[in-house]
């Protein structure tokens, strides 16, 4: 239930400490393992504290660390935070604990937008044309995500009022449509393109670089700050749309803003690393299990916990079958789906006792 201020400090202290720990561990681990003294040396060089080590091996490791490892770990943190905050926002907005960012068509729309580029953009491929891909693909994914989300929103906004039930139904329909489109495109695609679509729809951080981190990082931080401003309104929304309105909240404006914010967070993350499911669903749940209920704390906590889980997942994904990489979406599904099923059964038990989500 309500967390005491002491508990809140404890949890956030713990989350921050674990985040720093996994950041360091993940930066160290990989196909080429780095040592702690090396990491310390690189950081010292970066801040101009120590002179660069001229040893050729150190130069190679420095390259791995600064060009590959560090942007990747930081991008993981941002994507995890963005998807988890998005999950928290959607669950609060829909007043439904099993909503995830993909539910209202955002992810499927982004995937369709990307698939169109893969197939219709001649031999354009995200994997082997990095410069053009970096520009065209995120834009197409964003347009797709926005179009799908807007379509869901329009379909469910009958008579100027959005009801949750109609939005969920519209989400199912638009998801099916977008998935059908993506499936059709991968069916008519030539083999390498189809592989790209499949690869992308499973998610991967292997293309991580500094520009993608800057983009996702900026959107995540700004999105998080904006989300925090709506935390109180989202709390009030737990009483229902009518009661929130009686508390002076412009519910339609709130819905519009949150949906737009969600689209931005999910589309930018998805455009950069592909579709990664379940993180946005699981993270808010775990926090609720720990007693988080205030959306302000849920948003902050989900940013931290989402970052942690994404870094851990990616580290496992790129080390478990090294030097090959497991698509991270496969991993999050393998971990996330059982956890989700476990949560469902747990809630059912609690429900039958007349508590929790009853």
């Amino acid at each position: 239930m309500t967390l005491s201020p002491r508990r809140v400090r404890l949890y956030f202290g713990l989350l921050t400490a674990v985040l720093l720990l996994v950041l360091v561990l993940s930066a160290r681990l990989g196909a080429m393992a780095l040592t702690y003294p090396e990491l310390g040396g690189f950081l010292g060089e970066a801040f101009g504290l120590t002179p660069p080590n001229p040893d050729p091996m150190a130069t190679l490791h420095r390259g791995v660390f600064f060009q590959i490892r560090l942007p990747r770990v930081l991008l993981c943190a941002c994507v995890g935070a963005a998807l988890s905050m998005s999950g928290t926002l959607m669950q609060a907005l829909f007043r439904n604990p099993i909503v995830e960012p993909g539910l209202i068509g955002t992810s499927a729309g982004a995937a369709l937008g990307a698939a169109i580029i893969f197939v219709l953009g001649n031999s354009l491929s995200w994997a082997n044309v990095p410069v053009l891909g970096a520009l065209v693909l995120p834009a197409a994914a964003f347009v797709g995500a926005l179009a799908a989300t807007a379509l869901v929103y329009r379909l469910s906004a009958a008579q100027g009022r959005v009801t949750v039930a109609s939005m969920l139904l519209a989400g199912i329909a638009v998801n099916a449509l977008a998935a059908g489109g993506t499936g059709f495109l991968s069916y008519i695609a030539r083999d390498p393109q189809a592989r790209s679509i499949t690869f992308w729809s499973l998610g991967s951080f292997s293309s991580a670089d500094w520009p993608s981190f800057y983009l996702v990082g900026l959107v995540t931080v700004l999105g998080g700050l904006v989300a925090l401003r709506y935390a109180k309104s989202l709390n009030a929304l737990q009483l229902g749309e009518t009661e929130a309105q009686y508390l002076g909240i412009d519910v339609r404006k709130l819905q519009n803003r949150i949906l737009l914010l969600n689209t931005l967070l999910v589309a930018v993350a998805t455009a950069t690393v592909g579709v990664i499911g379940f993180v946005g669903l699981i993270v808010p749940h775990l926090l609720r299990l720990a007693g988080f209920s205030d959306n302000r704390l849920l948003i902050l906590g989900s940013a931290l916990l989402g970052a942690i889980l994404m870094i851990v997942s990616d580290t496992v994904a790129r080390t478990i079958i090294a030097p090959a990489e497991l698509p991270i979406g496969v991993l999050t599904a393998f971990i996330g789906a059982p956890v989700f099923l476990w949560l469902l059964s747990k809630y059912r038990q609690l429900n039958s006792r007349g508590g929790f989500y009853a």
Binding site: M1, T2, Q91, R95, N96, P97, Q159, K232, N235, A236, Q238, L239, G240, T242, E243, Q245, Y246, L247, G248, I249, D250, R288, S293, D294, R296, G354, G355, F356, Y357, A358
Partner: protein, 265 residues
């Protein structure tokens, strides 16, 4: 003063409320009475400013509700709806503090917390402060929600009157708590708040009303500034059931009894 000025409300294909004109005064408990579908809840929602009337106006102290910013309105007007369910677990304390949302920016102040506790105490629910709202019975939840709306309009505003609107507030409560809740509402009216409530129980209405409004088929059938002016005939017209008014032998107040005989059914 909360006024409906020739207010109507229509949804596609049906007019739910026709040309309602009504004055709800500070210091008084106004009770809306009528059979199902008479337009009581519609009228209450219009008075609350949930949506604007399709025709006519709702005025609070002479100002059209449409021109009042909703946060400003929320600091003066609270509404108790029926059966509120939460999507996620929240403590009773947190639910009550939501009533203070229009008053604080980011975090509740000490005053907000004090008011929340006092409002909970007023409804006899202090010992429930740490409980999970979703584990409460319907009646307990209703009392917590009443505490929330009391907290919302705890202090009198600098100018103008406070408004408390209740939609069948006692339907899930035991008789003892029905009186507790309505006494608290009446006390608020005596502190110069406008109190309007929908009630189903005619005898509760007669006990607590300062002004009775009878609705039928989306029209205001009659407004009685003095509940004692209620007649058997009016009740029959509005509810379609024969009733008789007698004098309560203990309180000497009017009492409604059902007078439908077997043959008339």
């Amino acid at each position: 003063m909360l006024t409906a000025d020739h207010a109507s409300f229509a949804v596609p294909g049906k007019t739910l409320l026709h040309d309602a004109t009504l004055e709800c005064r500070p210091g008084e408990v106004t009770v809306l009475l009528g059979p199902n579908g008479a337009g009581k809840t519609t009228l209450l929602r219009l008075l609350a400013g949930l949506y604007p009337p399709s025709a006519g106006r709702i005025l609070l102290d002479g100002q059209d509700l449409r021109t009042l910013a909703s946060p400003e309105l929320a600091r003066r007007r609270a509404v108790l709806s029926q059966e509120i369910h939460l999507a996620f677990p929240l403590s009773v304390e947190d639910v009550v503090l939501m009533g203070r949302y229009p008053h604080f920016q980011r975090r509740p102040t000490l005053l907000d917390q004090q008011i929340g506790r006092q409002a909970l105490a007023d409804m006899g629910m202090s010992s429930f402060a740490g409980r999970d709202y979703s584990t409460l019975s319907g009646g307990e939840a209703q009392k917590v929600q009443m505490a929330r709306v009391l907290a919302q309009i705890w202090e009198a505003p600098a100018a103008g009157s406070r408004v408390l609107l209740l939609d069948e507030p006692v339907s899930s409560l035991d008789i003892q708590y029905q009186h507790q809740l309505l006494r608290r509402a009446r006390q608020l009216a005596r502190e110069q708040a406008v109190v309007v409530t929908v009630l189903h129980d005619l005898n509760l209405a007669l006990t607590y009303a300062d002004r009775l409004v009878l609705l039928k088929d989306g029209h205001i059938h009659a407004t009685l500034p003095d509940p004692a002016a209620l007649t058997d005939q009016l009740l029959g017209e509005v509810f379609g059931v024969r009733m008789a008014l007698i004098t309560n032998p203990v309180t000497q107040k009017p009492l409604v009894i059902y007078a439908e005989s077997e043959e008339e059914k």
